[in-house]
């Protein structure tokens, strides 16, 4: 027994030593060429060899397909074919792991990827304050003006630190056939309409709205939308930097949510329902026709597709039956009823990344390549010139709503940053669970804001 233990310990030691060595050697090959290239020459064919590491969140879905990931790979291949001195190493990482764990740790360790996913807002501000991001204001001035106002969430104090490739707004997805079955003829435009629709669906024995409250944020998005309707643009946008939530409109938002919850519009046990995993998730309920509506971002059409068998007929049938309308208007409130909430995805360069990083980023977000991503993977491009590449009728409608909105507000949790945003989401879930109220949400946000 003792000798066995010894051998296994020796094996374990050897294995860990091997790992360490492997880590060191891979480190070396990654950083050495990069460092030698920080001299500043632009990447022409004769330039020194450069390796770019790129972390993005496009991972394969349940059915193994990864359209966006494949498209990113093809862009990297095209870029390296034009610039043979550049090698691009891609790592695909699941969204929450990437955002919450991998990127923050990599940035702190100083061994960060050159190009990585950036969601904008408060998080980007923290990264800029820490000196982690490359200022792209001058190097990519043309691209910044080409992409227009969509770049705003990736800007901080007048400088630009990242460029988006997609931005979309959220709204209510619904199954047209279930609306028909319940005798609903028009898309709800006000909360009263929505209340009627909920009642009609209930009378027809259909679950009106699905929400994945176990994940927190899907529930929180209802509150965000009530806040968007009850708070003026000025209050919301100044709260993004001042983190001051003393305006009465923040409490009104929670009370409107409480009132709405009182009409019992959601599925049974919504607090135990997750958003995207499995047929009993909120997306699964809508995709399988068990529930009629769901408030979600533009990506959800792809989540729904994941619940089909993947055949073209099944996806077409789903698209035919899938409708979308913006968050209905509420009574009163200082917010503009056409304002919309949205979010996007972009990339930023690490402060010590070689200059090729910015060049490659410009290549990714070029009009042509955003249009290509829209065609290949159904993204919603930021570049106005790429808008025509969106063909899915629902996504076209969604882009029009975004274009006609009084203003588009970035997701509130992203705007306020992880600490206040997390406190806000916890408070909202408390309202959903019946353990907290409108005042609690504001108190938790205020307390979190005071600690940072």
């Amino acid at each position: 027994m003792a000798s066995m233990r010894k051998t296994s310990a020796a094996v374990a030691f050897a294995a860990s030593a091997a790992l360490l060595l492997a880590a060191c050697s891979s480190d070396g090959t990654e950083t050495d060429p990069t460092e030698s290239a920080t001299g500043g020459e632009t990447s022409d064919a004769g330039g020194e060899p450069v390796t770019l590491t790129w972390w993005h969140n496009a991972v394969a879905g349940d059915n193994g397909q990864n359209d966006l990931g494949d498209y990113w790979q093809s862009l990297a291949d095209a870029y390296t074919a034009e610039n043979p001195n550049v090698t691009i190493e891609i790592e695909q990482i699941q969204n929450e792991d990437l955002q919450r764990t991998r990127i923050p740790l990599a940035l702190q360790s100083g061994d960060a990827p050159d190009l990585f996913q950036a969601w904008g807002g408060g998080e980007l501000a923290t990264q800029v304050e820490s000196g982690y991001l490359m200022d792209l204001t001058d190097t990519l001035a043309d691209d910044i003006s080409r992409l227009g106002g969509g770049v705003a969430p990736w800007q901080y104090e007048g400088s630009t630190y990242g460029l988006p490739f997609q931005f979309g707004v959220e709204g209510v997805w619904y199954r047209e056939s279930l609306f028909e079955e319940a005798g609903i003829t028009e898309e709800p435009a006000t909360m009263a309409d929505l209340g009627d629709a909920v009642q009609k669906l209930k009378d027809a024995g259909i679950t009106p709205i699905a929400v994945g409250a176990a994940d927190g944020w899907p529930a929180a998005h209802w509150w965000y939308n009530f806040a968007l309707r009850s708070c003026s643009q000025d209050v919301i946008q100044s709260a993004g930097t001042s983190l001051d939530f003393s305006d009465q409109c923040w409490i009104d938002a929670g009370e409107q949510l409480e009132e709405f919850l009182g009409t019992e519009p959601f599925q049974d046990q919504f607090i135990s329902t997750v958003a995207q995993t499995g047929a009993t998730s909120s997306a699964g309920l809508v995709a399988t026709g068990e529930a009629a509506m769901e408030l979600m971002g533009h990506w959800n059409v792809f989540v729904y597709e994941g619940f089909t068998d993947g055949s073209e007929e099944a996806i077409d049938a789903l698209h035919d039956d899938l409708g979308w309308f913006p968050m209905p208007a509420t009574d009163g409130g200082a917010g503009d009823p056409t304002a919309a909430l949205g979010g996007g995805d972009g990339f930023a360069c690490y402060v010590d990344a070689p200059p090729e990083c910015a060049d490659f980023l410009a290549f990714i977000v070029s009009d042509e390549n955003q249009a290509g991503a829209a065609e290949a993977a159904g993204i919603l491009p930021v570049a106005p010139a790429a808008a025509e590449a969106v063909t899915n009728p629902v996504l076209v409608e969604l882009s029009q709503v975004a274009g006609n909105a009084a203003y588009v507000q970035l997701w509130l949790d992203t705007t306020f940053g992880t600490n206040v945003g997390g406190a806000m989401n916890d408070g909202i879930v408390g309202i959903f669970a019946g353990t907290g109220d409108a005042q609690d949400v504001v108190d938790l946000m205020t307390a979190a804001a005071l600690t940072q």
């Binding site: 923290t126 820490s130 000196g131 607090i271 135990s272 600490n419 997390g422 938790l444 600690t451």
Partner: protein
């Protein structure tokens, strides 16, 4: 938790083995040069203990000291520590009493102290309920399994199986079983019985009890195996003598077996208390301690604040508080309850030493 238990269970037999080995080979060979011998001994100690100490200091002591330092700062853990601001004990008062500023105390109590004491309460309830429920159940099962019957080893295997499963595997399995539209819910509804209105794990009242059931299912196997090992060490002659004197099966258990495995029970209780204070994996896998903290523990709260909310200073303060809790629980338990067991061990060893 598992590492602690493993090391705890591994240690006891190792000590015995060493003691008996010393008894069998009483005389250490006399050497001609005592000074060289002493140096060699020191070198041996350094070689054998050094690597372990090095790892211990690098991965246990050093992080602990760093956590104690971080806990005195206001630090967004995504930023470099140079940007952190020293705030003294504010993180601790925030957790314990909602801070010292009367103006913000009310909202800080709601936002920080309340979730903290809720988590402490959950840890405490799990400790008490383990003693009240897991201990008697495990004892009865162990006593029954101690009798000889057909298929005994397979029953033992089945009972121990949950303990061997990884926490994440078991957690995901229970999540699927307890899904609002999952098999457990449907089976119980099929019987015409009500299920918790907001789901098994998320219901404000039922969530904790469902969690406690899962934790008990997971860890009771360890208690049973430990008790069975203890029972195997009870001398057969005592039981036979009692039976001859006319004691019933229950009397034998109650008056002989249970008292004689007292030390084993006390060790299990020790491991269970420490494990309950540090409970994390299962609660985290099953939705991060619950969407409103129904089954949050100090550890899940700490990880949530530290990794999801990025409040590095406050999370470090929670880590230190948790360390103080488990340390004082361990010391108090050692001093008050296990004193007898350890004192016996010490005298026995000392006697052997004299003989040698």
């Amino acid at each position: 938790m598992t590492a602690l238990e493993a090391s705890g269970t591994g240690k006891a037999p190792a000590v015995d083995a060493k003691a008996s080995a010393a008894g069998d080979h009483p005389v250490t060979p006399a050497t001609s040069n005592p000074r060289r011998d002493a140096r060699r001994k020191r070198l041996e100690i350094a070689i054998f203990v050094g690597p372990a100490l090095l790892i211990f200091f690098t991965f246990v002591v050093f992080p602990m000291v760093m956590a104690a330092r971080y806990s005195l700062y206001k630090w967004d853990s995504r930023q470099p520590f140079e940007l952190a601001e020293f705030i003294g004990l504010d993180n601790y008062t925030r957790a314990l009493i909602g801070g010292t500023d009367p103006e913000t105390q009310e909202i800080f109590w709601k936002a920080y102290a309340e979730p903290f004491w809720n988590a402490v309460g959950n840890n405490g309830q799990i400790i008490v309920l383990s003693m009240l429920i897991q201990l008697p159940v495990a004892m009865i099962v162990a006593l029954v399994l101690n009798r000889k019957f057909a298929g005994r080893s397979s029953v033992r295997l089945i009972i121990f199986a949950p303990y061997v499963l990884a926490e994440v595997t078991a957690g995901l399995m229970w999540m699927m079983l307890l899904d609002p539209r999952g098999p457990v819910t449907q089976m119980i509804q099929g019987l015409g019985l009500p299920t918790p209105s907001q789901g098994w794990l998320e219901d404000p009242t039922w969530g904790f009890w469902t969690f406690f059931f899962i934790v008990s299912w997971k860890y009771i196997g360890l208690a049973i195996i430990l008790f069975l090992a203890g029972l195997a060490g009870v001398p057969q002659e005592l039981q036979e003598a009692a039976s001859i004197d006319g004691a019933s099966w229950w009397q034998v258990q109650w008056r002989i077996n249970i008292p004689l495995i007292g030390p084993t029970v006390r060790v299990w209780a020790f491991l269970s208390i420490i494990g309950s204070i540090q409970l994390f994996d299962m609660a985290w896998v099953l939705n991060k301690g619950g969407s409103t903290g129904q089954y949050s523990t100090i550890a899940t709260l700490m990880v949530d604040i530290g990794t999801q909310r990025n409040d590095g200073g406050y999370a470090s303060a929670l880590a230190i508080i948790m360390f103080i809790f488990s340390m004082s629980a361990a010391l108090a338990y050692m001093a008050l309850i296990m004193r007898r067991d350890t004192a016996n061990g010490r005298t026995r060893k000392a006697k052997k030493g004299v003989k040698a």
